[in-house]
């Protein structure tokens, strides 16, 4: 067998091994040469450096995100109100809350008034027909709304679904509701829903007002009393609707 066979084979074998060593960086990291000559240092620094206007863009995106969230929430509320309008078949006037009374925080000022057929005593609701208050004063393009949690608020209600237990809901310093004048012999319990009664001609019956929380009952009292809570937080209202079609 010629000697040339082995010499050629070993020469090429060594070449392959050198290439493998160079590629794996065991002999010399050949990539350093390429990185040094073909990728200038300032490009690397520029890539590693944080962009200058990142913070400003982030702030803009935050604002945009916040606006979009508000729009999405408003859209949801409007859709629910539209849905509710179709259910009750009454006219609704959608209004934004533009201010709160500086002295009494439970009085809202909304941007709809006589021009929108808003009248005193009409019910103010939010999404899905949850009643939050009544109109107490009306201007041409504004109205004042007293929340049901206000201490001067009075509303005839019924408790429970089938029994139709009547009572009066009053506000307690803007914090919660107080259900009173419930006859002794009738049973109410925690969790019962409170609906608006049909006695008020400007408030449609069946609007959800709140939920019974704790029942207070003593033998010598003529009527039962109960504390109740609203189903939604009335501190963060932004969009309401007035039922005007009555």
């Amino acid at each position: 067998m010629p000697r040339n066979f082995f010499s050629q084979f070993f020469i090429f074998l060594i070449i392959v091994l050198i290439f493998i060593g160079l590629k794996s960086g065991r002999i010399f990291d050949i990539g350093i040469l390429f990185r040094h000559y073909f990728i200038p240092e300032n490009i690397t620094n520029r890539l590693l450096k944080q962009p200058e206007n990142l913070s400003e863009d982030y702030q803009k995106l935050l604002v945009e995100n916040s606006n979009l969230k508000n729009l999405a929430e408003e859209n949801k509320q409007l859709r629910e109100l539209l849905n509710f309008k179709n259910i009750i078949q009454k006219d609704l006037v959608v209004a934004n809350i533009i201010n709160r009374d500086p002295i009494n925080n439970n009085i809202l000022i909304i941007n709809a008034g006589k021009n929108n057929k808003v009248d005193i005593g009409q019910a103010v609701i939010i999404n899905n027909g949850v009643m939050v208050g009544k109109v107490i004063a009306v201007g041409d393009d504004y109205a004042q709304v007293r929340l049901i949690t206000d201490q001067f608020s009075r509303l005839a209600v019924t408790v429970g679904g089938e029994q139709k237990i009547s009572g009066i809901v009053t506000g307690t310093l803007g914090l919660s509701l107080n259900l009173s004048f419930v006859p002794q012999e009738l049973e109410i319990k925690k969790g019962d829903l409170i609906y608006s009664a049909s006695s008020d001609p400007k408030v449609p019956a069946g609007l959800v007002v709140g939920q019974v929380d704790e029942v207070k009952f003593e033998q010598e009292d003529l009527f039962k009393q109960a504390s109740a809570t609203t189903l939604v937080s009335l501190d963060s209202l932004s969009l309401v609707a007035v039922i005007t079609g009555l």
Binding site: F5, V16, F19
Partner: protein, 166 residues
């Protein structure tokens, strides 16, 4: 001219293999190089050229492969084994010799791939998905390509010689 024809034959075999779509990775592309090395081995007389071609084609495959050096080592060892076989009774000029050497080289390729992967502990190739039937088929296809292209090449050369003889 001879090398130009070799390159054309290689391109033809590459195209043929690309149509087949036999293996899921770079094995698929290394087969035409094997065919080309064999053709160069049968018709070339310059051993340095053969080794250089094996090295370059191996490096090209390695640059596309995830394991650098595996194909280069395989190709060079195959050339070395073929050169040893050439010294035995398996002469390269006969049809039977061409077939046997082609088949042997393709099986050697797979044995080397398995062996080198096992020695260096590469876990990149999924050998479990590779059936022996595919290896056999690929070896048969490659051998057929080598024989067909050999016949074409020999006919072309003979025609050229006949023209020159006039």
């Amino acid at each position: 001219m001879k090398y130009l024809v070799s390159i054309l034959l290689f391109l033809l075999s590459s195209y043929f293999w690309l149509l087949l779509n036999f293996f899921p990775n770079d094995w698929h592309f290394s087969q035409p190089f094997l065919v080309a090395i064999l053709l160069l081995y049968f018709f070339g007389d310059n051993e340095w050229l053969l080794y250089s071609f094996a090295l370059l084609s191996g490096l090209l495959m390695d640059s596309l492969s995830s394991i650098f050096g595996l194909n280069s080592l395989c190709f060079i060892i195959i050339v070395f084994i073929l050169k040893i076989l050439h010294e035995t009774k398996l002469t390269k000029r006969s049809f039977l010799g061409t077939t046997v050497i082609s088949l042997a080289s393709f099986f050697i390729y797979w044995i080397l791939m398995f062996l080198l992967s096992y020695i260096f502990g590469h876990n990149i190739y999924s050998w479990a998905n590779l059936s022996y039937a595919r290896i056999l088929y690929s070896a048969l296809i490659n051998t057929a390509i080598v024989i067909v292209l050999s016949i074409i090449y020999l006919n072309l050369r003979r025609q050229k010689n006949e023209i020159q003889s006039f």
